[in-house]
């Protein structure tokens, strides 16, 4: 393969929004979505630390780099939940969004 050939990409489907986009094996699910200007998975720190981009893999395979255990514990890993910013596809993937942006600051005082 010459360096001008297109890198083969897997087909990623976000079931919540029916969004589809291509993601090469060496790019994270979140990075490919953001780079293409697509939406659906909320983006936070992009480093596996904040948990905002948590998704559940419904079909297909991903490999994940280190993710904060505060946001993905063993039980969640076993249930197919990963952070999209640290997960790389190994096949076509279908996923649903689990994470969400939390409320930024609380306005209520002490109770």
């Amino acid at each position: 393969m010459s360096r001008h050939d297109r890198i083969p990409a897997f087909d990623i489907q976000i079931v919540d929004t029916a969004e589809r986009y291509p993601c090469p094996a060496e790019e994270s699910l979140l990075h490919a979505m953001e780079r293409l200007g697509r939406r659906g998975i909320p983006a936070g720190c992009r480093g596996g630390g904040c948990g905002v981009c948590k998704v559940e893999i419904l079909a297909g395979e991903v490999v994940s780099a280190r993710m904060s255990r505060a946001h993905v514990d063993d039980a969640e890993r076993a249930a197919g939940r990963v952070l999209a910013c640290r997960s790389y596809p190994r096949s076509n993937v279908s996923l649903r969004v689990v994470g969400a942006m939390r409320k930024g600051f609380t306005r209520h005082g002490p109770r």
Binding site: C45, G48, G49, C50, G109
Partner: protein, 306 residues
């Protein structure tokens, strides 16, 4: 008292999930200098214009966030005085022996109503800055990336904001330089122990003990723009900026380390004097208070914490 017991922010302990990746970020990109590693594998770093041995301690862990933030106090007498006052306030106070962090003297560790751990220390070994103290050069070209001058402050998110503000004002002698209020409720507090606009800041949040960002000082707006160039060139996750804050008036850009801990590099900012009135920002103008140019609330900036 013309001279306060608490001198300045001295160090911050940050958890990272991949130590090597983090060291590459903080040295190669932020431009800090690695000054040592200890038997537990912790890495010590400092900025080029800092004199003491370290201002950032990285520890590999399975989650990111802040372990502790430390302030340097005047002398051993101040350490004893403050230790007593912290205990009287109701903090859980613990003495950590000298050398537990390498090159650092005895530390007084305490918890806080927002769920963060802080510590005070009077002594840390002198390492020296990169230009010396006799006829020094005005800048360095021997450190990488953004070449941050110093660790400047942290912004922390936590539950009992009123409690931590009381702790810092009444026990540690900080001034409330700026505040954000929603009606009668304090939402954000920017506290100074110096004549900087802030040495620590807190935002009220529904979880305790969270880190919003660790901030490093740059010299100028041009350096903030150059920091942005470095972020784009090396694919560093940018949160927001370059822009300017209404609060503190700093010119700023926010980004994330490889474990998702938010960093800031900034330049400028207002001067605080102890006789100045507290500046108040109201919740209905919060967009402009936080980002003076965008003038809208940014969900990511407000909500993403480690």
């Amino acid at each position: 008292m013309s001279q306060k017991d608490v001198l300045r922010p001295g160090h911050v302990g940050v958890r990272v999930m991949d130590l090597d990746e983090a060291v590459r970020h903080y040295t190669g990109h932020v431009g800090l200098i690695e000054t040592g590693r200890d038997r537990e594998g912790r890495v010590y770093l400092k900025a080029w214009d800092e004199y003491d041995w370290f201002s950032l301690v990285l520890r590999e862990a399975d989650e990111s966030g802040m372990d502790f933030m430390g302030f340097k106090v005047r002398d051993a007498g101040a350490l004893v005085r403050l230790e007593r006052a912290l205990a009287a306030f109701g903090c859980r106070v613990e003495r950590i022996p000298a050398g537990e962090l390498e090159h650092c003297g005895e530390r007084v560790r305490f918890d806080s109503p927002t769920g963060h751990h802080f510590e005070l220390y009077a002594e840390k070994d002198f390492y020296g800055n990169e230009v010396g103290t006799t006829n020094p050069e005005a800048f360095v070209d021997t450190v990488g990336g953004m070449a941050a001058n110093r660790f400047d402050h942290c912004l922390l998110y936590g539950t009992d904001l009123d409690g931590s503000v009381r702790l810092f004002r009444e026990v540690l002698g900080f001034d409330l330089a700026e505040q954000v209020v929603d009606g009668e409720t304090l939402v954000g507090a920017f506290l100074s122990c110096s004549n900087k606009a802030h040495d620590i800041a807190f935002i009220r949040h529904d979880e305790p003990g969270r880190l919003h960002h660790v901030s490093f000082l740059l010299d100028s707006w041009e350096e903030v723009l150059r920091a942005a160039d470095i972020m784009s060139k090396y694919g560093i996750s940018i949160d927001i900026g370059p822009t300017r804050h209404g609060i503190t008036r700093g010119k700023t850009i926010y980004f994330f380390d490889p474990s998702g801990n938010r960093n800031e590099v900034f330049a400028g900012g207002s001067t605080w004097y102890p006789d100045h009135p507290t500046i108040t920002w109201t919740a209905d103008s919060l967009g402009k208070a936080i980002f003076y140019h965008d003038r809208v609330l940014n969900e990511n900036f407000l909500a993403v914490v480690t």
